[in-house]
């Protein structure tokens, strides 16, 4: 069974690209358009990892990470945030909220897979 990764991004094109790349690499993917959507879709489902954008409507990435970490189910899973180069402070904020690591946009599919492999082991 492939590991399940949830990817959260308000940009449909990024979502599609991440989804496609991960599926090609044999992972199962769940997608959500923002933090709220992600929490609604998860409903406590077992997943192995989350990849989330930071800047999103409704519930942004930082708050999503906080809420996930508050849930015992997702307390220890890897969470990777997608940031842009201008968000250095955001990176710090994300780490403080409990993010495992980050990927800087724009990134290539290989970079995404490398990070996923890195944190999922």
């Amino acid at each position: 069974m492939g590991k399940v990764i949830m990817t959260v991004d308000d940009s449909a094109s990024v979502r599609q690209m991440v989804n496609f790349t991960l599926q090609q690499a044999g992972y199962e993917v769940m997608t959500a358009a923002d933090g709220q959507d992600a929490l609604a879709k998860l409903k406590g489902a077992a997943i192995h990892m989350v990849i989330t954008d930071l800047n999103m409507p409704k519930l942004d990435g930082i708050d999503l990470i906080r809420q996930l970490r508050a849930n015992p189910r997702y307390k220890f899973i890897p969470i990777i945030m997608l940031t842009t180069e201008s968000q250095v402070e955001k990176k710090q904020e994300g780490k403080a909220a409990g993010a495992t690591g980050w990927i800087v946009k724009p990134f290539k599919p290989e970079q995404l897979i490398a990070v996923v492999k890195k944190v999922l082991g």
């Binding site: 308000d10 940009s11 449909a12 094109s13 990024v14 599609q16 690209m17 496609f20 800047n55 999103m56 409507p57 970490r69 307390k75 220890f76 899973i77 890897p78 969470i79 997608l82 842009t84 180069e85 201008s86 780490k95 409990g98 993010a99 495992t100 690591g101 980050w102 946009k105 724009p106 990134f107 890195k118 944190v119 999922l120 082991g121």
Partner: protein, 704 residues
């Protein structure tokens, strides 16, 4: 696939631009509305971020300027004015023009807008230049890590106690380190207190890791990139890999501890005077802890081993042996394996415990001997790759190309025979890439590609196979031209849709390429049938993937060795056949009832999936009636599944491949023969060939 993503991005960007326009107009009325503000910012942010991801660099760079201003607006450093809204709307229109791509964007106009935007910014923002979106790193920059000298590092890693709460598993870090080189990990468990006091969500362990690698310190730092900020992490070189040959030993335990600052040199001298096992004494004297000593011992052992290996490599050197001698040796091992099989069979029959135990031992030894002998014949693929540097250099000069050749996986080992016979096909593929694939520098620039073309040769292990890729970023194959040609030749029905992979496979079919030389409709194909034949003769497979305008990748999969394979032994009537086990995925039963259900088609239903099969009894014209329950051996090549009907499946078999005599070499469907334990000859099936014929025939049937 990139096109598909680009389309999605465009759709999305149009929506965002519409939203941006609405929000900007509304904002003019209610400048203090925070929600509007974040909508504007988010729209810009997404256009920039996703734009850069899908190759719209110009849009990304331009949007970045506008976003920077709105970042300041959001933080209350600039006020929203009519000027700002006007400029933003103008910028939005420019982004749309860029996105349409119908007319070339007006670069001067964009410069104007940027200049006007910058004027709105407070002066201090001038140094914000460094925040420029920076062109996305080009692939060249992150090229393969430089292979430096092999150094031994001591990595001390004490993570933050809360490391687990950020979803990090330290063990994955060590796994990554192991991929860098020879690695020994020592866990420092002293900080773990009694069970009652432990917070199970905290990490108390620290690690000392000893790593010998040639990848450089940056590669090590990369492993720790996500945790370096909040962990105690030191990386030091403890052995430079130079050491003279006599220098077998390594630093003494006490020296290591002193160097690490864990022990005072004077205290050490004192203990040393007593001359016993120093580690124990130091612990007894409470100068260092048990874990500290253990860690130092691990270091000592690690470096000693590395040194020893290095010396062995230097001292043992190599002996040159004519390869004919090796071939003879492999032949003899082959004979031995056959005899051993006979011995085992005889012993089984006699049921003499003494003989059985001897047979078992012989079997084990023969196995070891076989592995070792085959190993001797393995050579790194780099030996032929390195020849290609010159080829690429000369050819590109001759043809006016500018090409960077990138090689990786040069240490991947392959049987010498395979390697020798691989040279010509690879030369052919490289020639094709340079001649027909990679464009002239000027046309590359026009197509928006870097001036220099890239040609990469990659080798890697994948199970019992070696995968070799020849990849270029040239013009790619012209699918439509191939389709047209295939139809012209009558190989493809007018409306038949076939997967891209099969379409590309046409250029490797004999008779396709020669015709193309005259018409020269597209990229490549000269003599690809020869390449394919050569690869198949090595029991390998070849596959093409390509994207018009972006490049072509040719993937060759080869078995590690030619001499001995794992096979599946089956029977039909009284004849024995062997299928290469690597291609077999499963065996299922086929009953009379199943056959009737298929209404005369050679199709089996395997757990809901339709699998075509070849009745080997008919194909090989073997007389006699088939048993009531037959077996389908299902094989898979390049994700095509075809079954082969046999009477019985006997089991796995070490198969020493004997080539067929000259008369039989053209027999279709048989690639060789082997001798079984009792002396019977079994024929080895040429699965790819049988499969190909099957698909061709079924396609022909569709065409009718």
């Amino acid at each position: 696939m990139k096109d598909k993503h680009q389309e999605t991005f465009k759709e999305e960007a149009y929506e965002l631009l519409a939203e941006l326009e609405d929000s900007l107009l509304a904002m003019e009325q209610t400048p203090e509305d925070q929600e509007l503000m974040s909508r504007v910012f988010r729209a810009l942010h997404t256009i920039k971020g996703s734009g850069a991801m899908f190759g719209f660099e110009e849009i990304a760079a331009f949007t970045h300027e506008v976003e920077t201003v709105f970042d300041l607006v959001r933080n209350g450093q600039i006020e929203i004015t009519k000027d700002l809204v006007d400029l933003s709307l103008a910028a939005r229109d420019e982004i749309k023009t860029l996105l349409d791509g119908s007319k070339p964007g007006n670069a001067a106009r964009r410069q104007e807008i940027i200049a006007a935007i910058r004027e709105l910014m407070p002066v201090i923002q001038e140094d914000g230049e460094e925040h420029q979106p920076g062109p996305p790193a080009s692939p060249e920059e992150e090229a393969l890590p430089a292979q430096g000298p092999s150094l031994t590092y001591w990595i001390h890693f004490r993570p933050l106690a809360e490391i687990f709460l950020t979803g990090t598993n330290p063990l994955t870090l060590f796994k990554e380190l192991r991929e860098l080189g020879e690695c020994n990990v020592f866990a420092n468990t002293e900080a773990i207190s009694s069970l009652a006091q432990i917070n199970p969500e905290h990490c108390y362990t620290a690690w000392d890791i000893f790593l010998t690698t040639s990848m450089g310190v940056d590669a090590i730092k990369d492993v720790f990139i996500f945790v370096a900020d909040d962990s105690e992490l030191t990386i030091e070189v403890i052995d430079d890999g130079l050491g003279s040959e006599e220098d077998t030993g390594y630093k003494k335990l006490g020296e290591i501890l002193v160097e690490r600052g864990e022990l005072d040199a004077k205290a050490l001298a004192k203990v040393l005077n007593r001359r016993r096992l120093i580690g124990e004494d130091l612990i007894k004297a409470k100068l260092v802890s048990g874990d500290q000593t253990q860690s130092a011992l691990v270091e000592q052992r690690h470096v000693r081993e590395v040194k020893k290996k290095r010396q062995e490599a230097q001292a043992a050197g190599s002996i040159r042996v004519p390869s004919a001698k090796l071939d003879k040796l492999v032949d003899l091992v082959g004979e031995l394996v056959t005899v051993q099989a006979r011995l085992s069979q005889t012993a089984d029959g006699l049921q003499d415990p003494q003989l059985l135990s001897i047979a078992e031992e012989v079997e084990q030894l023969t196995g070891d001997l076989r592995d070792n002998v085959l190993n001797i014949r393995m050579l790194p693929i780099g030996t032929i790759f390195s020849k290609f540097q010159r080829l690429v250099r000369d050819l590109s000069a001759e043809l006016g190309r500018e090409i960077d050749l990138i090689m990786s996986g040069v240490e991947t080992e392959l049987d010498k025979t395979v390697l020798d016979r691989l040279n010509d096909p690879l030369v052919h593929l490289i020639r094709n890439s340079i001649d027909h694939g990679i464009e002239l520098p000027d046309s590359r620039l026009q197509a928006g590609k870097p001036r220099r073309g890239r040609l990469s040769l990659t080798a890697s292990h994948s199970g019992a196979q070696v995968v070799i890729q020849v990849e270029d970023d040239g013009i790619g194959l012209d699918k439509e031209a191939i389709r047209a040609k295939a139809m012209e030749l009558g190989w493809l029905g007018v409306d038949t849709e076939i997967p891209e992979k099969e379409l590309f496979a046409f250029i490797m079919a004999p008779g396709f390429s020669t015709a193309r030389e005259i018409t020269s409709v597209s990229g490549r194909g000269v003599g690809m049938d020869v390449v394919k034949k050569a690869i198949e003769a090595l029991r390998g497979s070849i596959e093409i993937s390509s994207r018009r305008g972006e490049g072509t990748t040719i993937i060759i999969k080869l078995p590690l060795t030619l001499a001995i394979i794992e096979g599946l032994l089956v029977t039909i009537e009284r004849d024995y056949f062997v299928l290469p086990l690597a291609m077999v995925t499963e065996c299922v039963e086929l009953t009379r009832e199943d056959i009737e259900k298929a209404h005369g088609h050679n199709i089996a239903n395997v757990r809901g999936e339709i699998v075509p099969y070849v009745p080997l009894r008919e194909r090989f014209k073997i007389n006699g009636a088939s048993p009531a329950i037959e077996q389908i051996v299902i094989t898979e090549i390049d994700s095509n599944r075809v079954g082969f009907i046999v009477d019985h499946v006997i089991g796995e078999q070490q198969t020493v491949i004997k080539s067929l005599g000259r008369i039989y070499q053209t027999v279709e469907g048989i690639s060789g023969a082997t001798i079984l334990g009792d002396g019977t000859v079994a024929l080895i099936l040429d699965v790819p060939q049988l499969m190909q014929r099957e698909t061709l025939e079924s396609r022909a049937a569709h065409l009718d």
